[in-house]
Symmetry: C2
Subunit: 107 residues, 2 copies
DNA sequence: GTCCCATACCTAGACAATCTAGGTATGGAT
DNA sequence: ATCCATACCTAGATTGTCTAGGTATGGGAC
């Protein structure tokens, strides 16, 4: 895949970022860029469809914020989204541990 | 994706497993299953094509072992494969750190 | 002795996640 | 008046992995 390569963790990253407070799509990209130590540079073409899917599955809710800075769609983590975040975080930890197990044996 | 979900780390897992000593495909599946703490159950349909690709790119070499247990294709990590393993391991560590960064900020 | 299962290998096609590459619109700076 | 940053969006391509088939061998059960 591309340069950033989120390897199936896009939803987790978005949910976790929204867990730190509501935000609009463009801000989420910046937030993830920062908190990943500039290692992850998500593309809009990845993020917006993912947010739409998360909304369709009830993990996030959105509203239009029509302030002076132009139109923005602000996303919030729902209760279901928090549950999903916890589930995916645990799944990630399990996977990371599994990879460490395989790598560790080699070194 | 499926149940195991290696999330783009299949090559890394195979190279790392071969780093622990030459093996044939079926044994690699068992090796990864073990060392991942039974968390990863790779499928043959994933592993064999991946090994062929790794051989095509010069990361592994193979030979037919025709012992009493029937035909087996035994894979060995090449010098280039060791380099690639190191590169991918580092890449993985960077990615895992990036995800931790995003997750950590949420908790 | 033949049936079945575990081992061992293989491939085509399906599927899903993400990226590429376009596009629109607004507001502020030059 | 033009350009750039912000902000959102989508279709289609790409890619990695899985599903679901297939072949072949050897050993144990019956």
């Amino acid at each position: 895949m591309g340069r950033s390569a989120v390897n199936g963790q896009l939803d987790l990253l978005l949910l976790a970022s929204l867990g730190a407070g509501e935000a609009h799509g463009y801000a989420l990209i910046a937030r993830i860029h920062e908190r990943s130590g500039a290692r992850l540079e998500l593309q809009e073409g990845s993020v917006y469809p993912a947010l739409h899917k998360l909304e369709a599955t009830g993990c996030v809710a959105s509203r239009w914020a029509d302030d002076d800075a132009g139109r923005r769609r602000v996303y919030t983590l729902t209760r279901a989204g928090e549950t999903e975040l916890a589930r995916r975080a645990e799944e990630w930890n399990g996977f990371a541990a599994a990879v460490r197990g395989v790598l560790g044996a080699a070194s």
